[in-house]
Symmetry: C2
Subunit: 262 residues, 2 copies
């Protein structure tokens, strides 16, 4: 199978135009099939403030009401997505900006109301991503760039977690490509010592992960990240990388951040 | 050659959610290859007001400064485009929302500063539209939906006239498809008597057009519209229709609005 990189960047890259510029240049230089997924960042929060929309929280969880959905659709799918695409084009990367609604590539289900009504938030299932259609796009030599907006197939756009979109795309594509899932975040990788940025663990197999958990080396916010990563690996993804966006060029040498594998 | 419809809708359709709903249902039902181009409407103006951005005019012409470009990118390429796509998906039309930056489909040149600096406005030339790439997309059975945003290939998004995008796409595609260009506007067609909405002229050939101009039947704002339409026909487009969006179903019977031909 041909290799495919599915790469996710978050607010820490998007909010800093210099970081974003360098990342996009590096991303454009990466050989082979690739898909980019970007989160939101502060711009949506800033625009909400300007528009007088107060963030709605219930039990500490953010709610996507109809006004907030309008804002994230404008900022994620419009402003951020199209500026990323234009910059990638400048770097000779033939990017195409997408939401899950486009070509019906990612169909979500609005999160059911239990204790909390999250509003217009979409959850994904194993059949959400149309891998055949996405592969057909890849084969026309374009590079898909997804914002974290999906739809329900009934005309409703939905705000959807960008990490979840990235892993769902990676799992769905793993039947057609040898798929590597790459998460860029603020650290250089999984750290053995949280106080030392240089203590990156280079590789973790699923059996080693069990040991590191038992020894409490991996804990806190890193734990669910890695649980989800190994879930993707168990569902067909070849490997997951977690590292810092400015080290993306090392991905070709397989020495980017922490590599997780079966 | 296979037939292709290139259809442009403007603010009068977009600003009225009921009109838009019916139009998109009719558009979804239209057989064969088709491309939709949409303008902006009042939403961008409203958002600018909310954000405290005053419209900049020079000699009566609207200027797209950097703040206005941000607003139109959010509203046209984000909010309007993605809601149109989600609604078309609901009507089982496999729409994909695009700007000219996406897949480098429409590359514009920033309008040169002469007497007026129009700001971030893009002009098109005969080589602006990548017809091969657009055809490759059409052949994957998706329906392209363009907002009126293009790019310069150097990382800069540009605000671009939607009518011009529609005619440029139609001309570029006319080498590959038997292309009909369709403009939806507020009237049922070209009227013989401006005071009677029912006085639609059904067909106008280019030689008849010369006569109607000489007799002053066609004058005012309709004149440049028709001049541009016949320019497109002279450049390879098979026919141009001008009519009202709610009469789109008549297009299949070639009895939509006014039909212009060579």
């Amino acid at each position: 199978m041909k290799p495919l990189y599915v790469i996710k960047i978050g607010g820490n890259v998007i909010d800093n135009s210099e970081n974003l510029h360098y990342f996009l240049n590096d991303f454009a230089s990466l050989d082979g099939y690739k898909i980019l997924i970007h989160g939101g960042g502060k711009i949506a929060t800033d625009l909400s403030h300007t528009m007088g929309i107060e963030p709605k929280m219930v039990d500490g969880r953010r709610i996507t009401d109809i006004e907030t959905l309008r804002v994230v659709t404008m900022v994620y799918a419009g402003l951020i997505n199209k500026n990323i695409v234009a910059q990638l084009q400048r770097f000779s990367c033939n990017a195409i900006g997408l939401t899950g609604a486009d070509a019906n590539l990612i169909r979500a289900a609005r999160r059911p109301v239990k204790d909390i009504d999250y509003g217009f938030v979409g959850d994904l299932n194993p059949y959400s991503v149309d891998s055949q259609k996405l592969a057909a796009l890849l084969e026309t030599a374009v590079v898909p760039v997804f914002s974290a907006i999906t739809h329900d197939g009934e005309g409703q756009l939905l705000n959807t977690n960008a990490d979840t979109i990235a892993s769902s795309i990676a799992v769905a594509m793993s039947g057609l490509y040898k798929t590597s899932l790459v998460y860029c975040f603020e650290k250089k990788g999984v750290l053995r010592d949280v106080n030392s940025d240089e203590s990156v663990i280079r590789e973790i197999s699923s059996s080693e992960f069990a040991g590191l958990k038992a020894d409490n080396v991996i804990a806190g916010g890193m734990l669910p990240k890695l649980e989800n990563a190994f879930k993707a690996i168990n569902s067909g993804v070849s490997e997951v990388y977690i590292g810092k966006s400015d080290e993306l060029p090392y991905l070709n040498e397989q020495s980017f951040g922490t590599r997780l594998f079966e």
